[in-house]
């Protein structure tokens, strides 16, 4: 209306008014372009801020965590004294297992430092080597009993404190009473360095072992496997059930009280704090169904119940975004409602559903609070071998290590976080690949 009357007026008023109007337009255009630029800048700033946060976080974790991937080792010449290991010469597995390998380690250290005398000094000397060293020798002997009587040159892990010293986390300049290692011990370490007996190597234990209270022997493999078993259960349950529920609610369900109730329920469950799901798991899976505590199966079930609403909500969003014309065309061609849905709508919505599922799985992978209630915040040394073996999960391991007094656990905590992030990035990479292949805009 006003546009046409303006045009008429301009026609009558001549070129002068027209140019004035154009000035106005130009002026407002400039303003609009500026607004446009500002808006665009806000967007860019938001993205940059988000990524900046990520970079800062990652950098701080990486800086703390990367030394943990290397561990200090000490080269020792260990005489496998038959008199200590197996005085009766039976070479029975049980005798070999229970032998005093500590004495062998002590003996080989004593050879290097013969002047360490007295009980306290000798204890301090042994404290340089990891508590795991005797068990390393035990493993070798158990594997090949014929080694008994030989002298082996072994690289045994150094204790957490020595490792910290080598990595510069223990300050030599501090007064002796404030250090974990005494002057005497540091002197020994210097001798060992001179003799070329100290090396830093790839920390294999971190990647291959279960939990331990000795930082140098502690690994995340048990937690990784626990998380893996749990996520398998979670994915297998939450994705199909979530997608099925979303398909029903979006494509088939009549609009009535019952579906409203379901919908409200789902939205509500997405908001329930995760620890409440732990309470649910405790009451239902453990107490009612009598499933064992600390089992990844139960953890997976709890996490599946927890991620289900997220999967359903994002799957529904993906389904809604498929234009109705697709459905109408399929129905028009004579497909049944079920065929239209499963042959046409769902395949188009799958990328969106995957996005939601991946977010849900990422949340499940990083979740520790509900696992507390079902016995998975636990010290478990043995690496789980199945869905029913006691296990922890990666975030739980991080939480437990973060709470450990030993200094060497600080960097291992960060290293465990790095591993967790590596898994997340791998999951996301998969999602990108899938999304790139299937994303489309209507």
């Amino acid at each position: 209306m006003s546009n046409t009357s303006n045009a008429k007026r301009e026609k009558g008023a001549g070129s002068k008014t027209a140019s004035r109007a154009m000035d106005k337009v130009h002026a407002s255009l400039r303003k609009r372009y500026r607004a446009e630029k500002r808006f665009r800048a806000y967007g860019l700033i938001s993205v940059v801020v988000g990524i900046l946060f990520l970079v800062v976080l990652m950098a701080s974790i990486l800086a703390k965590g990367y030394p943990a991937f290397r561990q200090t080792f000490i080269t020792l010449d260990v005489y496998l004294d038959p008199g200590v290991i197996d005085p009766e010469g039976s070479r029975d597995a049980e005798v070999l297992r229970l032998a005093d390998y500590n004495r062998l380690v002590r003996g080989s250290l004593q050879i290097i430092f013969p002047d360490a005398s007295g009980r306290t000094e000798r204890r301090k000397l042994v404290a340089l080597v990891s508590n795991g060293a005797p068990f390393q020798i035990q493993g070798l002997v158990m594997e090949d009993p014929s080694l008994v009587g030989q002298t082996l040159t072994l690289e045994v892990p150094a204790s957490g404190d020595l490792d910290m010293l080598m990595k510069g986390r223990i300050d030599r300049s501090l007064p002796e009473s404030e250090r974990r290692l005494s002057d005497l011990q540091i002197g020994w370490v210097d001798t060992l360095i001179e003799q070329g007996r100290i090396h830093k190597r790839w920390n294999k234990a971190l990647m291959t072992r279960g939990d331990s209270r000795d930082p140098e022997m502690a690994g995340i493999w048990g937690a990784v496997k626990g998380s893996f078993y749990m996520l398998v259960v979670t994915l297998l349950l939450s994705f199909p059930i979530g997608v099925a529920a979303a398909v029903y609610l979006d494509e088939f369900a009549p609009r009535n009280r019952w579906t409203d109730l379901i919908e409200i329920n789902i939205n509500n469950l997405a908001a329930v704090p995760s620890i409440v799901f732990g309470l649910l798991g405790l009451a239902v899976f453990l107490n009612f169904f009598g499933m064992p505590r600390s089992a990844p199966l139960v953890g997976g079930l709890v996490l599946a119940v927890m991620t289900l609403p997220t999967v359903i909500i994002s799957s529904r969003a993906a389904l809604t975004s498929v234009p109705p014309s697709i459905r109408e065309a399929a129905l028009g061609m004579g497909a049944s409602k079920m065929q239209a849905t499963f042959h046409h709508v769902v395949p188009l919505a799958i990328p969106g559903m995957l996005t939601g599922t991946i977010i849900g799985m990422a949340r499940a992978l990083g979740e520790s609070a509900p696992l507390l209630m079902i016995g998975m915040v636990a010290f478990i040394v043995d690496v789980p071998q199945g869905f029913m073996d006691p296990a922890t999960a990666l975030p739980v391991q991080i939480y437990l290590w973060a709470d450990s007094p030993e200094r060497a656990f600080v960097e291992r905590t960060s290293a465990a976080i790095l591993v967790l992030l590596a898994f997340l990035i791998a999951m996301n990479a998969l999602a990108i690949y899938l999304r790139r292949r299937f994303e489309r805009r209507w």
């Binding site: 297992r97 250090r179 006691p390 973060a402 007094p405 200094r407």
Partner: protein, 353 residues
């Protein structure tokens, strides 16, 4: 696609239900309980697992209360065999245990844990007395502590200097465990009550009205000077570094491991060191326990062997590996007594309490 994943899920569920039936036998000890005892029990468990042919016990950190709840829920494979506790079991809990068929409980005291008040290395050291601690942290303090009037007012002290002119002029800020924590409970009882008793009229109150006495001595102020900082002691250590004015309350083992970052403050003239806590000169230390279900011994593999490992001198002795982790050992006679009780599975009688 959907159908396929549905079938996949169904198949997986079945495989898993299949394995539930196959593996329901329990082949390892199950331990629950206090997060304070957790670092010690885990070390023992690990050594036990390595040096015997039994599987390493599973140890959950659930808090003493949660641990006892699980422990007392009944006898049988689905219930834990041992619970760690940073406080002694209560009579009501023993009753509850009994009502679920858990009758014979073996109590083992494992040693002591010192509770320290530490601050950043660079900050000035405090020479605290238990009276100072009480006056700084209680919700209500005697009116005009010096004048000796027998009434209480809401705690007016803002800085340590207000409490005691010898202390530095620094705002009172103490990071400590929440009321649900056993550490807090022990700290309140040992440090604050100790200071509280130094007022004669309050001491007299103890005989007259015990509950009034306790509420005077045990209530911690809630106006922000005492900051409930959760039970993650590492975090408290790091917060202390970030804020040199604050003091933190936590277990001795964290001080021991972080001696280059923080320092323990003297209480009643004694600086918390291993030896001073062990011989009882440092006033704030509390015992730690674990409880064993006698009915499970001989049925769940390895329980007597685990007890033997825990009560051996190489574990809890003065030179044992637990002392390396900051556990303060008991005197020799007490160790012998508890080792004997553990060996003979002598059931707990709380009447002695």
């Amino acid at each position: 696609m959907i159908k396929k994943s549905l079938t996949a899920a169904a198949v997986a569920t079945l495989v898993m239900t299949g394995s539930v039936g196959a593996q329901s036998a329990r082949d390892r000890i199950h331990i629950v309980g206090s997060s304070t005892v957790y670092p010690f029990a885990t070390v023992v468990a690990e050594n036990f697992g390595r040096s015997t042919s039994f599987k390493t016990p599973v140890i959950e950190s659930t808090g003493s209360g949660g641990g006892l709840k699980l422990f007392c829920a009944g006898v049988g494979v689905e219930h834990p065999d041992v619970t760690n506790s940073s406080r002694r079991i209560k009579a009501s809990e023993v009753e509850l245990c009994a009502s679920h068929g858990v009758n014979e409980i073996v109590e083992v005291k494992i040693g002591y844990d010192g509770i320290v008040m530490a601050n950043d290395k660079k900050a000035p050291g405090y020479q605290l007395t238990r009276k100072d601690i009480f006056l700084a942290l209680a919700k209500a303090v005697p009116n005009g502590a010096a004048t000796g009037v027998d009434s209480m007012i809401a705690n007016p002290y803002k800085t340590w200097k207000d409490v005691n002119p010898d202390l530095p002029d620094v705002k009172i800020e103490v990071l400590g465990p929440p009321p649900t924590s056993g550490t807090r409970d022990a700290f309140v009882e040992l440090a604050m009550e100790g200071g509280c008793k130094s007022f004669e009229w309050i001491k007299a109150l103890k005989k007259a009205d015990k509950s009034a006495y306790k509420s005077v001595c045990h209530t911690v102020r809630e106006d922000g000077a005492y900051i409930e900082a959760g039970e993650n002691d590492n975090l408290i250590v790091q917060k202390l570094q970030a804020n040199p004015n604050a003091l933190g309350i936590f277990g001795f083992s964290f001080l021991d491991q972080n001696a280059d970052k923080i320092k323990g403050n003297a209480i009643d003239g004694v600086i918390p060191t291993f030896d001073d806590i062990a011989d009882g000169r440092y006033p704030v230390s509390r015992p730690l326990y674990f409880y064993v279900k006698a009915a499970h011994v001989g049925v769940i593999p390895g329980i007597p062997e685990y007890l033997a490992e825990f009560t051996s001198d190489k574990a809890w002795g003065p030179d044992g590996y637990l002392s390396d982790r900051g556990l303060i050992p008991m005197p020799e006679t007490e160790r012998g007594q508890f080792a004997k009780a553990a060996k003979s599975l002598q059931p707990l009688k709380l009447a002695a309490n």
